[in-house]
Amino acid sequence: MTTNVITGKVFVLGDEVNTDLNCSSKYLPGKDSAYVSTVAFEKLQPGFAKNMSDHQGGIIVAGTNFGINSSREQAVHVLHLMKVKCIVAPSFGRQFFRNAINNGLPIIECDTSQIHANDELMIDLHHGTVSSSAGIKLAVKPLPQEILKIIEVGGLLNFITKHPDWNFAA
């Protein structure tokens, strides 16, 4: 279950982060998600997973096309294990965007240039606002209601179990 307001410390990653390469076992065959969650993004930023774990998770703020080329749902399972509460980026890889929603991981598309590592962020999913401890307040286009609903109940399979008729209004 996800609350509508998310708060957490910012962990920054760059542009064009390929989660297949950095956050799944696609190229680490035989390794499980628990293992991958301890080494995720290591090639991009040594110590990233450990740093995140030391802080009991937080919010990933990335550059353009986060999750490009990536179609593995496992990448989102790994991010959950790392206690990632939300990902904020100007754009996402198409399949990653879908996988995040289907697995109840909130994602926000917005300009991230004014958000910095170690800021504390507060994100209101329904109202579409992102505010930082550095005093920045960004208005973002809220996700469509249907998507918020799927995220709220923790993902697609929870949603269709509750609503086999796909009734978003219920």
Binding site: G30, N69, Q95, R98, N102, I147
Partner: protein, 426 residues
């Protein structure tokens, strides 16, 4: 308001008169496909649902193509689980050697014009060649389709690319897609639905049309669609598909932008090592040696591709030190190549054939590992560092004709120079 092909297909499947880009809709899905690389996750996701609730499995297929044949016990066990699940849930099943998902679905008559088809692979955009909306999804999505017959979609913005003129001999759809990648860059058309129209598309045969749509995955596209014509209908009927419901865009359809490319001007293109969008004409490449030449994959492993290679290599031998492997995209293609004598031509030239499947496309199975400092020219769709399990090897991409011409000379070679005899001077 005018609607694009994508919008019309999604609207119809959502029982709406029209839809708008950005809107989330719930659509009836005509067919869903799961490959072996995602089967473990999909079956895990499925286990969260009551097996009795999986009411829509008759319109799904499980395809054993990436781990074909299984390279290790883990893959073999995934295949065992898939066969068992398929038997219990009564899905279609394509076993090892039957072929690549994107080839066996159309060949098996599982889709027709106007359909909405999803698959656990980004190259599911290939089905657009038949005027179907095909797109990639993951395990949760398939589980939802098997349980409810439906899935959510965010309606993509559409763009229209007009391909005018006529491809020169030796230039193929692959060269258009590589040109598009050079122009728009990888993921440059993220989330968008591409609609290719124009005389060059009409002139293409189905194999080339599938390449055109398939490679849109590297552009980040959600779908890539063509208009249906008599060639489409003939092909679909020959493969036992349902009667087509061809969908055409309205004349006042709204595209986020339109582009026009005169394909007559294109020379054979290659993507240089590591970057699928670092694209140049083969005429710009000066003596780049290669050690591996690979023809196959869902992008270019079809009969026309094998014909191109045989045309170039007939009565000739590949260069010393070059290893060439051909992987037909399906068993049907393998058989057709056999009947046409193409396998004898290519095997005599020094190439090796392997069973139909994803073959040499990706290193997840260690199916083929090039040596350090070796260069591969491949008809595949991705060439990033490590794609073939070795960060110290380089992969270049080109058409099947460019791969065959390069195998012949040992250098990246413009296939148009071969029949002119210029290759002898290299």
């Amino acid at each position: 308001m005018g609607q694009t092909i994508s919008e019309k297909i999604l609207a119809k499947h959502a029982q709406k008169s029209e839809v708008q880009a950005g809107e989330v809709v719930v659509c009836d899905v005509d067919f869903a496909m799961v490959t072996d690389t995602r089967a473990a996750n999909t079956i895990k996701m499925m286990s969260k649902l009551d097996r009795e609730s999986l009411k829509f499995t008759q319109n799904t297929a499980l395809v054993l193509d990436h781990y074909s044949p299984p390279p290790n016990l883990e893959a073999a066990e995934i295949h065992q689980k898939m066969r068992q699940f398929s038997g219990e849930a009564k899905t279609h099943l394509y076993d090892i050697g039957d072929g690549i998902c994107h080839q066996v679905l159309p060949e098996g008559g599982h889709l027709t014009s106007g359909d909405l088809v999803v698959g656990t692979d980004t190259h599911s955009v290939t089905y657009g060649a038949f005027n179907a909306f095909g797109t990639g999804i993951e395990g949760s999505d398939v589980a939802a389709v098997m349980a409810t017959g439906k899935l959510w979609f965010r309606v993509p913005e559409s763009i229209q690319v007009h391909l005018s003129g006529q491809l020169q001999p030796g230039v193929w759809a692959k060269d258009i897609t590589l040109h598009m990648l050079g122009k728009y860059k990888a993921e440059g058309l993220n989330y968008k639905a591409i609609e290719y129209v124009g005389s060059a598309v009409s002139k293409m045969d189905i194999d080339d049309r599938m390449t055109l749509c398939n490679h849109a995955a590297e552009l980040g596209a959600k779908a890539a669609l063509l208009e249906a014509d008599q060639k489409t209908f003939t092909w679909l009927a020959a493969h036992g598909a349902k009667p087509p419901n061809a969908v055409y865009a309205d004349h006042d359809a709204i595209y986020s932008f339109k582009d026009q490319i005169d394909v007559s001007l294109l020379v054979p293109q290659v993507a240089r090592k590591h970057e699928v969008d670092d694209v140049v004409g083969t005429d710009q490449i000066d003596r780049q040696s290669i050690q591996f030449a690979l023809i196959g994959t869902c992008t270019n492993g079809r009969l026309d591709d094998i014909r191109q290679a045989a045309h170039i290599l007939q009565g000739r031998k590949i260069a010393k030190g070059v290893r060439m492997i051909v992987t037909p995209a399906s068993r049907q293609i393998y058989l057709a190549a056999l009947r046409e004598g193409l396998i004898e031509i290519l095997t005599s030239a020094g190439a090796s054939f392997e069973a139909a499947g994803c073959g040499t496309c990706v290193g997840i199975t260690n199916h083929l590992v090039p040596g350090n400092r070796e260069t591969v020219i491949s008809s595949a769709n991705r060439n990033f560092k490590g794609r073939l399990s070795n960060d110290e090897a380089d992969i270049w991409l080109g058409s099947a004709a460019t791969v065959a011409a390069s195998a012949l000379t040992g250098f990246i070679t413009d296939p148009r120079t071969v029949d002119g005899g210029l290759w002898r001077n290299v």
